[in-house]
C-alpha cells in the first residue's frame, strides 16, 4: 500500500477527532450533572474549560487544511478530510451547548436540590447516547447505524415538546416559576440542538462512505 505517511496522517487526525468527541461528551455529561446537583463550582469549570475544546478544534482544523494543501487528496481521502472539518465543527458546537447548560445552572443560583427536571434527564441520556453512537458509526463507517441514530432524534424532539408543555403549564399555574421554567426550556433546547448536531455527524458518515450528501432527519426546530 502506497502513501504510508499520508495514511498515518489521516489515522492521527481521526484519533484527534475522537479525542475531541470525548471532550465534548465529558462536557455534556458534566454540564447535566452539575445542573442536576446544583454545583456552581463545577459549572464554572465547565465554562472555563470550553476554551480547551475550542483550541483542540482549531488545531485539528489547521492540521486538516495543511494535509489538504500538501497532499492534494482525492476521492475517499478527500471525503475523509472534508468530513473531519464538518464533524469537528459539530463537536465543538455540542460542547458550546454543554457550556450553555452549565451557564443555566449558574443562573439558577442556589435553587435547592433535588431539582424538578422533568424529562430533561431523559433528554440528556439520549443526547449522550446519540453522540457516542454517532462517533462509533463514524469510526466503523457504518451507514446503517448512522441512519438508525438519526431516528432517535425524533424522540429527543418529543421529549423537548413534553418539557415545553410542562414548563408552560407550570408558568400559567404559578407566575413565580416563570424564570426557572424559562431556564428549563433553554436547557431542553440545548439538548435538542446537541441531538441535531449528532444527526449532522451521521450525515457526514453517510457522505464519507457513499459520496452522497443526504439530509436524513430534518428537525422540527
Amino acid at each position: 500500500m502506497a502513501r504510508e505517511l499520508f495514511n498515518a496522517e489521516i489515522r492521527q487526525l481521526q484519533d484527534e477527532v475522537l479525542a475531541l468527541g470525548s471532550m465534548a461528551e465529558k462536557a455534556l455529561l458534566d454540564a447535566f450533572e452539575s445542573l442536576r446537583d446544583g454545583d456552581a463550582d463545577w459549572s464554572r469549570k465547565i465554562v472555563d474549560d470550553d476554551q480547551y475544546i475550542n483550541r483542540k478544534r482549531f488545531e485539528i482544523e489547521d492540521r486538516c487544511i495543511f494535509v489538504i494543501a500538501s497532499q492534494q487528496p482525492m476521492a475517499s481521502d478527500l471525503r475523509i478530510l472534508a468530513s473531519i472539518l464538518y464533524i469537528i465543527t459539530d463537536l465543538e458546537r455540542i460542547a458550546d451547548h454543554a457550556e450553555g447548560i452549565a451557564r443555566i445552572n449558574l443562573l439558577l443560583g442556589d435553587e435547592p436540590v433535588p431539582r424538578r427536571l422533568g424529562y430533561i434527564p431523559a433528554m440528556a441520556d439520549r443526547a449522550v447516547a446519540m453522540l457516542r453512537d454517532s462517533l462509533k458509526a463514524y469510526i466503523e463507517r457504518d451507514v446503517e447505524a448512522a441512519r438508525r441514530i438519526c431516528d432517535a432524534d425524533d424522540e429527543v424532539d418529543r421529549l423537548q415538546d413534553a418539557v415545553y408543555d410542562e414548563c408552560i403549564r407550570q408558568m400559567i399555574a404559578d407566575q413565580s416559576t416563570i424564570q426557572r421554567n424559562t431556564y428549563m426550556i433553554w436547557t431542553a433546547h440545548n439538548l435538542e440542538r446537541i441531538a441535531d448536531r449528532c444527526t449532522n455527524i451521521c450525515e457526514r458518515v453517510i457522505y464519507l462512505v457513499t459520496g452522497h450528501m443526504v439530509e436524513i432527519n430534518i428537525s422540527k426546530y
Binding site: 502506497a2 502513501r3 499520508f6 487528496p73 482525492m74 476521492a75 475517499s76 481521502d77 459520496g211
Partner: protein, 300 residues
C-alpha cells in the same frame, strides 16, 4: 423543486450503466471487468463518437476497444498511468496514430456522423477540423510569431493579407497571447518563453478554426505559472471548441475538465477504459476501485 433536483442528479449521475460489449468483438478478448464503452455525457451535444476504437503498433495492441462520446464545447480529460494508451487513443482522434510505423486503427470515430477513417475522407482535412497541441511547444523555428500562427491559414490556401492579419490577431487574442506579443509579431516564435510558445502553438491550432482541439500533456513542459495560464485558456476555449486533454496531472484534470475518463492497461497489455464520468463525480466518489486506487495514489 423536484425537476431541478432531477436535472442535477442527471448531470452528476455515474454513467457506467450503458457500458456494452462492442459488436463483433471476439469473446473473451476483453476482461469482463473492464468496460469497453462509456455512455455519453447526459443532455450534452456530442462532438466525437469513438466506437470500439483499438489501436496497434505492428502486432502489439495498444488500445483495446474503447468507446467514448466526447461532449461538445466541454473539456474532456483522459487520465491514467504511463503506458495505458491514452496518448495513442487521442492520436486516433485526428488520424495522427497512422504516422507511426506499421500503426493501425480499428473501430470508428465519428465527427458529425461521418467516420473519419472512411476511405473517402481526406486525413489532412480531418486534422484541420481536429487540431492538436503537443507536450513540448513546437513553434516552427524559422518563422516569426505571426508567421507561425498564419502557417495553417496559408496551408488552407488563404492568400488575402488582410484576412490573414485579422485571423492571426483573433487567434492570438483567443490564446491570451496578443497583449504580450502584439508589438513583437515579427520576432521569432522561438524567442518566446516556454509558456508563451505553448500558447503560440495553441493560437496556431485554433487559427484554422477547428471544431476540436486535442491536447497531449500540453503543460508537462511548463512551469506552474505558465501551466495555470494554459489551464485558464482551456476553460475559455471550451466556450468555442471541444477540448480533449491527456494529462498525467490529476489535479489539472480536476481543475480544467468537465468529464474525465480513466484508462488502465489490462492483462492483455493494452489500454482499456475503466471509468468515464463527470469530473466532479470521478474525483469525489469514483465507482471503480481501480479508479479510487489510482487517484488516491494507492495504485499498485
Amino acid at each position: 423543486m423536484p425537476e431541478l433536483q432531477a436535472a442535477a442528479e442527471a448531470r452528476t449521475a455515474p454513467r457506467t450503466d450503458v457500458a456494452m460489449q462492442p459488436e463483433g468483438s471476439p469473446p473473451g478478448a476483453v476482461p469482463a471487468s473492464l468496460p469497453t464503452a462509456a455512455p455519453q455525457p447526459a443532455g450534452t451535444p456530442i462532438a466525437i463518437s469513438a466506437r470500439d476504437v483499438s489501436a496497434w503498433y505492428g502486432p502489439k495492441l495498444a488500445v483495446s476497444g474503447i468507446s467514448m462520446e466526447i461532449a461538445a464545447n466541454a473539456v474532456t480529460a483522459l487520465i491514467g498511468p504511463s503506458g495505458c494508451g491514452k496518448s495513442t487513443y487521442i492520436r486516433c482522434f485526428n488520424r495522427m496514430h497512422e504516422f507511426a510505423p506499421n500503426a493501425r486503427v480499428g473501430g470508428e470515430i465519428l465527427l458529425e456522423g461521418t467516420n473519419i477513417y472512411a476511405p473517402t475522407v481526406d486525413p489532412a482535412r480531418v486534422r484541420q477540423r481536429i487540431g492538436m497541441v503537443f507536450q513540448k511547444p513546437n513553434p516552427f523555428p524559422t518563422m516569426s510569431i505571426a508567421e507561425n500562427v498564419a502557417a495553417g491559414l496559408r496551408f488552407q490556401g488563404i492568400r488575402s493579407r488582410s484576412e490573414i492579419t485579422d485571423r492571426v490577431e483573433r487567434a492570438l487574442k483567443l490564446a491570451a497571447l496578443w497583449d504580450e506579443v502584439k508589438d513583437d509579431l515579427k520576432k521569432p516564435g522561438m524567442a518566446l518563453s516556454g509558456g508563451q510558445q505553448q500558447r503560440l502553438c495553441i493560437a496556431r491550432t485554433i487559427a484554422v478554426e477547428p471544431e476540436v482541439v486535442l491536447m497531449d500533456e500540453p503543460c508537462s513542459a511548463l512551469d506552474p505559472v505558465a501551466t495555470l495560464k494554459v489551464e485558464d485558456l482551456m476553460r475559455e476555449l471550451a466556450e468555442r471548441y471541444t477540448i480533449v486533454i491527456v494529462t498525467h496531472n490529476m489535479q489539472q484534470a480536476a481543475r480544467v475538465s468537465d468529464y474525465t475518463a480513466f484508462l488502465l492497461m489490462g492483462d492483455d497489455g493494452a489500454g482499456h477504459l475503466v471509468e468515464y464520468s463527470a469530473t466532479q463525480d470521478l474525483f469525489t466518489h469514483p465507482q471503480d476501485k481501480r479508479t479510487e486506487d489510482y487517484i488516491t495514489g494507492r495504485f499498485g
